[in-house]
């Protein structure tokens, strides 16, 4: 049976909470392993993996911006 609209909404909210917690932990200086997050929440795949893939792309741009600013 396909998931209901409510189940989909709850799933999206759970993923958003995990991403928000991940951002908060990183801001506090913690190193967060995306692979470990995926391993901890296999039931939220593939959507969680896709969100973390985008976050990794964003983080990489952030890191490159920092490196470029450091050089200038």
């Amino acid at each position: 049976m396909p998931p209901t609209e409510r189940e989909n909404s709850e799933r999206a909210q759970r993923i958003q909470r995990i991403v928000d917690e991940c951002l908060a932990r990183q801001v506090s200086g913690q190193i967060v392993s995306y692979d470990q997050l995926i391993a901890e929440h296999p039931q939220l795949m593939p959507e969680l993996g896709e969100a973390l893939r985008k976050l990794e792309l964003i983080d990489r741009a952030r890191q490159r911006a920092r490196e470029a600013n450091d050089r200038n």
Binding site: V19, D20, L23, A24, Q26, V27, P46, G49, E50, A51, R53, K54, L55, E56, L57, I58, D59, R60, A61, R62, R64, A65, R66, E67, A68, N69, R71
Partner: protein, 207 residues
């Protein structure tokens, strides 16, 4: 918290707010860019490639962004992404014409576009023996750097930039999801850039 509040926090230097905003806008922005990709470059440039470059600009310029009316942040993002798309298209057109990049044209430093340019040139030169001699040093360095990557990252970059497969074709060939293939390319480019270091050291050998 509303989008406007996130935008204000991001413009004030809150990186977590900016990352959350970019994540929220990513899919819509990717769809906008994907629609504008020229047909002949869809196999070598993805919307994610463009957005990676656009986000680099966003992180560097967010402090000068002035939050205005609702929708202003998305419009700003779209403008940056479209400019980066235009730059990438120009770079790939040059590479397709024969890879005649000059020192001034090749973006140097902390930029995946430069690494991708070099991969494109490697692909072009491997098919054009007459041009191979004058770029041997730079291309040998790229080849050697590729050899040092993890096997799955090397395979992903080779399939994408040397063989010119689409992400969908790569996913099928590698037995992975398209998301996993994107991740391999992203990490592979990062590793390749680290392996190559300062690209300017290769430029003396370029025409």
């Amino acid at each position: 918290m509303s989008e406007e509040e996130f935008v204000q926090r991001a413009a004030a230097g809150d990186e977590a707010a900016l990352r959350r905003l970019l994540l929220a806008h990513h899919d819509q922005l990717a769809a906008t860019i994907a629609r504008q990709l020229p047909d002949d470059l869809r196999r070598t440039i993805s919307a994610d490639d463009v957005l990676q470059e656009a986000y680099l600009v966003v992180f560097r310029k967010i402090r000068v962004f002035e939050p205005g009316q609702p929708g202003g942040f998305h419009a700003w993002l779209t403008t940056i992404a479209e400019h980066r798309l235009a730059d990438l298209i120009k770079g790939h057109r040059r590479a397709k014409r024969g890879g005649g990049l000059t020192q001034a044209e090749l973006r140097v430093g902390n930029d995946d576009s430069a690494v991708i340019d070099m991969l494109q040139m490697l692909a072009a030169n491997s098919r054009t023996p007459s041009r191979k001699a004058r770029m041997d040093e730079a291309m040998a360095a790229v080849q050697a750097a590729l050899e040092n990557l993890k096997e799955d990252n090397r395979e992903a970059l080779s399939l994408r930039y040397l063989e010119g497969l689409s992400v969908a074709e790569m996913a099928e060939r590698m037995g992975r999801s398209e998301g996993a293939v994107h991740m391999l390319c992203t990490r592979g480019l990062q590793s390749l850039r680290e392996e190559l270091g300062d690209l300017s050291r290769f430029l003396s050998s370029l025409p």
